[in-house]
């Protein structure tokens, strides 16, 4: 057997990354970032407010948390809808009880499917980020750029109109992107996105329509990843978040460099009655951590942007 010669050619083997999207930089070599009030750790709690369509195409892959049985998968459709009716209220009551500020990433289709939920979120005044149209409008390498641009525009326009907010943040369904996604987002007025999970602080991300800020939304600490994919118990979830909080607070204290703890929770998962107490225990720990600054996504970006060279 012999491989094609391409397999032993390395056209991007050179200093820096194998693409032009961002510069390489080691966290341990960067100048310090300071957060308002001298906080050691900025806390970004993202609540994923999602719509999973019953007629899921699942192309080029089934979105995590999506339909799995033959049509009509009422089982998963309603389990996810539970999050938008029951789970989200439980999660918000818990967050409010500990005075921790949520940010919402919202599938724009919910403006049509759950207008009262959107009203509730808008009334609260918390920041809303866009998360495409719904969980099955995946942004991926085989999507035609015109089709993707239409999804981005429709999603942003719908959410901006409904919320009255600028909606300058974005998280893609399944954190999946095409080659064009960052360019399209920047062209449509998005300023920061959470999909690239290669860092623990914001960093500059290049597009053909100006600079974006990558604001990594941790997958490793995501409830759907730890509980849904890894099958860890809700109390093992809590232990890991608490360990991460303590680790980052200690590292910030030791180095004098601000750190970011980004947590993404799914009301359809964390808002179940057998899990919510574990989430409350996490929130109690975070609320009791003196060096934490509970912030919205845009507040984190603004604080970082003020210091970035």
């Amino acid at each position: 057997m012999t491989l094609d010669a391409d397999h032993l050619r390395y056209p991007h083997r050179r200093r820096g990354m194998d693409h032009q999207r961002y510069d390489f930089s080691m966290l341990s070599s960067r100048p310090p970032v300071a957060w308002p009030g001298g906080a050691g750790v900025a806390l970004w709690v993202n609540v994923a407010v999602q719509f999973f369509p019953l007629d899921q195409r699942g192309k080029p892959f089934a979105p995590p948390g999506g339909m799995t049985t033959p049509y009509p998968d009422l089982r998963h459709f309603t389990l996810r809808d539970y999050g938008n009716r029951v789970g989200v209220v439980r999660c918000l009551e818990a967050l409010d009880a500990f005075d921790i500020q949520p940010t919402f990433t919202v599938n724009a289709a919910l403006v049509e499917h759950c207008p009262r939920l959107l009203d509730r979120l808008v009334q609260r005044g918390d920041e809303i980020l866009a998360s495409s149209w719904h969980m099955d409008t995946l942004h991926h390498g085989e999507l035609a750029v015109d089709e993707e641009r239409a999804i981005v525009r429709k999603s942003l326009a719908t959410l901006r109109e409904c919320t009255g907010q600028a909606v300058e943040g974005w998280v893609s369904p399944a954190r999946s992107q095409s080659r064009h996604t960052p360019d399209l987002l920047a062209a449509e007025g998005v300023r920061y996105m959470g999909d690239w999970i290669n860092d623990e602080l914001p960093y500059a991300f290049h597009t053909n329509a100006g600079e974006l800020v990558a604001l990594p939304l941790s997958l490793e600490l995501d409830d759907q990843f730890l509980i849904g994919a890894n099958l860890h118990s809700e109390w093992e979830y809590a232990a890991q978040i608490i360990d991460a909080c303590d680790f980052l607070a200690a590292e910030a204290a030791e180095t004098g460099h601000g750190r970011l703890l980004s947590l993404s929770v799914h009301p359809w998962l964390m808002g179940q009655p057998h899990r919510i107490a574990a989430f409350e225990s996490v929130l109690a720990h975070l609320a009791g951590c003196a060096s934490i600054w509970s912030a919205s996504a845009s507040e984190v970006v603004a604080a970082w942007r003020g210091q970035a060279a």
């Binding site: 491989l3 080691m26 966290l27 290669n198 994919a229």
Partner: protein, 320 residues
């Protein structure tokens, strides 16, 4: 395809060698950080795709890039704190992409051994000339950037051919981490009859296997390391053992995992009779003091070729 490549002979655990490591130590402990580069859009190998999602697989790529950007600095500080030198399983392209990482390792006296060019380029389907060229390319890059000859091999993404170890030995390597058959080093039979050995590298304690494949919680991973250590330390009375903890900066160095790992590391380092070694040091000590004894003892016990194993070619690979 062959039923068995007959790379080594059978030797039961209660026949293990009476190894003592330098200073009379019983257990050789080594930590092998895998410092890797995964390409965003590599050519697709006919036997294995690099990424599950169509390119660009942002999630898979960014997960691994995290290791070089964030995890590695943290891991280096932790190993420094406990006086442990890393033996780096290196995607040699890191020399070109991130030479600052190589410099940080060289400053610390870390060993760099070959883990191929990229962890998104697989040996499956390569002919011998191609695999030899890939192996030599990586060894040359390591020498050029570190000033040290590459001694060890862990195939990129653990992708092998029937010739992999033959080719690496012929290129001047002295040890492999690709075989998981023992808790002591063993001779490995290669067609050149060079003196070539397997140094134990644990897949069971590999952080990626633990966290990702077996979905182990971080605190339990720490417990697994302590329990493995306790047993290998105890059994080393009757014949020195090797314990390896293979790591990935994109796995263990996350904020929810590193403290539990540190507790386990402190536990191991806090014991007597532990030699904090590198892969090369273990291989060299074994080659010098136990390789011939191992062959003599296991002679005639099946497996392997007598001629190849007992008649080493002139010129140790260390001269290469």
């Amino acid at each position: 395809m062959r039923e068995d490549l007959e790379l080594y002979r059978y030797r039961a655990w209660d026949e293990r060698l009476p190894i003592r490591w330098p200073g009379g130590a019983k257990l050789a402990f080594w930590v092998a950080p895998n410092i890797e580069f995964y390409e965003l859009d590599p050519p697709v190998n006919p036997s294995r795709r690099a990424w599950p999602r169509p390119a660009p697989d942002v999630q898979g790529y960014a997960t691994r890039d995290y290791g070089n950007r964030v995890g590695l600095g943290r891991m280096m500080a932790l190993l420094d704190k406990y006086g442990v030198r890393g033996s780096v399983s290196l995607s040699a392209a890191v020399c070109d992409h991130h030479p600052e990482i190589i410099e940080l390792g060289v400053e610390r006296g870390w060993e760099f051994f070959s883990h191929g060019i990229y962890n998104t380029r697989y040996a499956y389907g390569m002919d011998e000339a191609q695999e030899r060229s890939m192996i030599e390319d990586a060894m040359e890059a390591i020498f050029r950037h570190t000033g040290e000859r590459c001694a060890g091999y862990l195939a990129p993404a653990l992708t092998h051919t029937e010739s992999t170890l033959d080719l690496f030995a012929e290129a001047g390597g002295i040890y492999t981490c690709d075989l998981f058959h023992d808790d002591q080093p063993t001779p490995v039979r290669v067609r050149s009859a060079k003196r070539f050995v397997s140094v134990p590298y644990s897949l069971e304690l590999n952080d990626t296997i633990a966290y990702v494949v077996n979905r182990v919680e971080p605190r339990r991973y720490g417990e697994m390391i302590k329990q493995a250590f306790d047993r290998l330390h105890r059994e080393a009375e009757a014949g020195g053992t090797v314990m390896c903890v293979p790591l990935h900066p994109y796995q263990v160095a996350h904020p929810h995992r590193l403290r539990a790992f540190e507790e386990a590391l402190a536990y191991v380092v806090g014991h007597d009779g532990v030699w904090l070694a590198t892969g090369r040091e273990i291989a060299e000590h074994y080659l010098e003091h136990y390789y011939d004894l191992d062959l003599a003892r296991s002679g005639g016990k099946g497996g392997g070729s007598e001629e190849a194993a007992t008649d080493p070619a002139p010129g140790s690979s260390r001269d290469a």
